[in-house]
Symmetry: C2
Subunit: 332 residues, 2 copies
Amino acid sequence: MSGDHGLRSAVPASLQVLQEHPNLQLSLVGDSNAIELELQQHDTAGALPARLDIVHADTTLAMDAPTAQILRGSQGSSLHVALGLLGAGQVDAVVSAGNTTALMALGRRQVDMLHGFSRPAFCSAIPVNKGFSYMLDLGANVDCDARSLHEFALMGTALVSSLEECEVPRVALLSNGREANKGDAVIRLAAEKLAADERLNYCGFVEGDDLHLARAELIVCDGLLGNVALKTAEGTAELAADLVRQSFASHWWYRLLGLMVRPVLGQLRVSLSAEQYGGAFLLGLQGVVVKSHGGSTPRAFRAALEQAVLCVEHKMVPRLAHYLDNQESAEL
Amino acid sequence: MSGDHGLRSAVPASLQVLQEHPNLQLSLVGDSNAIELELQQHDTAGALPARLDIVHADTTLAMDAPTAQILRGSQGSSLHVALGLLGAGQVDAVVSAGNTTALMALGRRQVDMLHGFSRPAFCSAIPVNKGFSYMLDLGANVDCDARSLHEFALMGTALVSSLEECEVPRVALLSNGREANKGDAVIRLAAEKLAADERLNYCGFVEGDDLHLARAELIVCDGLLGNVALKTAEGTAELAADLVRQSFASHWWYRLLGLMVRPVLGQLRVSLSAEQYGGAFLLGLQGVVVKSHGGSTPRAFRAALEQAVLCVEHKMVPRLAHYLDNQESAEL
């Protein structure tokens, strides 16, 4: 029900993904009348209903709902109902384009944490010069200790192993320099823990200007640093696009050339945009939770759905639980 | 003596700036033989020596010297001698392209802090969609309390007032959201202090993607966050430039168009590069200290010299001292 485009994104994206995954069962959670109306706009060919059902929810949380209201007044909202299905084990994954704060607060309330993890983290792909890296935490946890960063490294490793053809992703800690004496006390202690953990492929510190160099498949940091880094990258990409636009508008000859190179510059925008890489993952829960990116266009919503399918098929949650079963959680 | 281009940048930049500022007195600190040789390459027309002198220094600190070596073995190095002149009040400003760690360590040792400030901070311009904003701290101080962030806001306000035509720059704190409940406890306490200080024009929190929107002339954060944000912006700009290059190389027709639009894309690189905006400032000392940016090309070195002149002419250091004289430092 949420996101900039609501059902106009979610419904066509769902129908496409259902076609591509013949074993997928999908529940659309929200205002059943509105969902049925939207479904009528598409050619469902009568064949789909067997794998597509509608779960009614009375309300939708506003995208800008304050946290207190989310926790008090969310009962019966589409997000509350969907996460309830996940918490009860009736579904394996929830994909939403809704309010991030709500997704985090309700996710934590409605779905159990994996035994041994203390708090969930947000993880997302970031564009690098060859494909993607993943980074977490991106804002769920502002104050983190070294144990939290270690947990994030395990969560991210399970995610990247599930999504990418990369069995043991390289893990780096984000810091203010590559040398071992950089970072604050928490980051340096986390470095020791990561280096000592044989389940991880720890490769040291990376700096902000290393983020796009694909030096690691997974970048770990606290939520304040991660949020600032991610949004700074987005803002710089916007600035670069603006500057290109301004330059091409500066003279009639460049305006003409600008028309001819438009496909090239459009490609730049796509390569740097969040839209192509699906969603952000709320990790550490006993279920897959994906927040769709990119103004939740049909393309972005579909990518988020595809990622949720990959996580379930590649058993991300059992893999993460297995990490913890093999070791006392106190030893983390 | 330092930087990627050493005297080949510093000497021509110095001669240009001397020509433009008829009251400027300039000392070149370093290997006197090498400096004289380089001066002979340029047309000094015999008129300059009255305002240009050479101060000999036996050694030069390596760009990658470890901190321990800097503190033990720096005696007699060009940076040590230059900062000694500043500490003794014989010059008003030092400009260097050398090792940042050394500049910070020796700056703090050789030059007194302004009374009332507890630690120096690095401040630099960042490109925004219209001109520049300034950001500090950029890496000098990894662990900061609210009082430090408040000091940074005062230092930065004095700097921006001196460099730009902006009497009372807007100051923002970098955080993970614009709402007052974002940030960690230190950032939220700093927000209270900044809002209560009548010498500051505090305008709230900014996020990473606001950095380039010119919402504030001055952005304040701790050195870890600032370093990651600055380097992430640099890395993203590099990535954007790489992607444009790759796109234009993809087909003969685009390669041809690429040649024609080269001036436009070159302008993008300049707009996003550190080189055009001179240097980074080590603030809080009883003197002006500027670290030249951008691989210290002659252009970058000259911009750093021009900024040092502006800071002296506009009395940045006395202005900052005045802030503190008007108020017990304990009240900061």
